[in-house]
Amino acid sequence: MQNNIVKSYLPRHLNKLRWLVLASIFAMLVLLPFLHLYQTYVAAHAYDLLFPHEKMIYDSMEWLTSPFVSDAEHELDAIKGTTWSGNLFGLQVSDPLAVLSQISASISVYWPFLLTALIPLVVTLVLGRVFCGWICPATFIYELNDTLAGWLRRAGVPLGDREFDKRTKYLVLAAGLLLSMLLGSIMTAAIYPPAIIGRELYYAIAQGGFGVGAVFFILTILFDLLVARRGFCRYVCPGGALYSLLGRYRLLRIQRVVSACNDCKKCNVTCEFGLDPLHDGFGQECNNCTACIAVCPTDALEFKLALKDGPYQGPGHLGHDYRREQQIKSES
């Protein structure tokens, strides 16, 4: 008999929330340079001297911010920066990778800067690699790119789906720190996609054009599209490597409920990081993005609090393999 009552399983909707967060952070990175332009126009007290397109920016930003601020020139300084390093209402937050690279480049520790990475550090230790799945503005574009790749594959376009060694990215991280030390400049900043995105959006909007980072970012998109699915995040990204290392013993994990699983393999197909939820293989690469929870038809994936992944629990109890096993057992 069919059960017609639809159970409301809230974690299934977390993926939508994640998309909302990703989109709003990306939109914020686009909006902030415009707000900065607006601030400079206000500070110059020269509305009449602006070009028509600058007047358009002025008017739209004034319309957007006037309900919240009275003194736009100064009060809009409350939110500044990117995910690489930013200012949120007086609270400075920096990427742990920025801090680590700066320490290795300058071969000394600047404590006020180290403390700005404290909040992301604690969040990563508890929740794992959530930055990659929930915040990173590059993830927003990479996931759209992956959707595009799916459409292209369906249309019959041959795209590469190579597998490399996941440990390459740790080597890239180590090489980046070493090169920073030797060359005397922060090398990881030039190849770390979220830093590139934040910076290049600012350059494009407020500084008059994209810089070299945009070229590098387009190369990473092509790498994802033509060589390996989400290849840059999985095999190259030094920040992903750092977050993976920090999130190795995270507290919050996704777990398969073997009694509800029917071995449909949708979770493995949807996981862009190529993990293996079907066989309980999450590991330190899992960024708790909840895409597998959202796609699971039997709600067999759930969050748990544990410092380690559990062992393989065998085939799902709703699947064929399990039924056959039981039959063999009962016969013998």
Partner: protein, 209 residues
């Protein structure tokens, strides 16, 4: 057999190590070092005095640019090299107004909070063979009028005859360079040791790098 396996694994690890450097090499290829004219590449107020120390400390987050009211802070991009994405000021394009916002917002020790009169971005240098009042007693005084520090930084050489002379109090903000109407820019920001009067000769035109 053992040795062969050892050599094979050694080769594989070497190849992997080289592969891990590829993204950095790529980014470096995209932004080769091009030496800018020093007086068009001034470090921000409160910056670490040594350009190499500055490149080591700056993470390229762009916050200094995002708070700059006159938008004078620009970033080394295609020609960055070691200083890729680090900020600088080109006073001939847009000069610093010494508002101190960039040094307050900088998360690292690249920029540290400095009182206006202790800022050392360089010093203004006047080429008396090109400055209009110096050449033919013209009427100008734009640089003296715009200077945010006043008398102690730049003033007229004698009484009211419009010949500007830079004093020791100049911090090198470059307002005078931005406002100078003479197209050849007879005033420019140089390092403090080069002096306030341009000397024309064989030895003095050598650049500092």
């Amino acid at each position: 057999m053992k040795r062969r396996r050892f050599l094979q694994s050694l080769g594989a690890y070497t190849a992997l190590a080289f592969a891990s450097v590829i993204p950095y090499g790529l980014s470096r290829l995209l932004a080769p070092k091009v030496y800018a004219e020093p007086h068009r590449h001034i470090l921000l107020p409160g910056a670490l005095p040594d350009i190499e120390a500055f490149n080591r400390a700056c993470i390229g987050c762009g916050l200094c640019g995002e708070v700059c009211p006159p938008r004078c802070v620009v970033f080394a991009q295609r020609d960055g090299g070691d200083g890729l994405n680090t900020p600088y000021i080109d006073p001939a394009r847009k000069a610093c107004i010494l508002c101190n916002k960039c040094m307050q917002v900088c998360p690292t020790d690249a920029l540290s909070i400095t009182p206006i009169r202790d800022v050392d971005m360089g010093i203004a240098q006047i080429d008396r063979a090109a400055c209009y009042p110096w050449v033919d007693e013209g009427i100008c005084g734009a640089c003296v009028a715009i200077c945010p520090l006043g008398e102690e930084a730049i003033s007229f050489e004698f009484a009211n005859i419009y010949k500007p002379a830079v004093r020791d109090g100049c911090v090198g903000c470059g307002q005078c360079v931005e406002v100078c109407p003479e197209p050849s820019l007879p005033i420019r920001i140089v390092t403090r040791s080069e002096g306030t009067i341009a000397r024309h000769g064989v030895a003095t035109r050598r650049r500092s790098y």
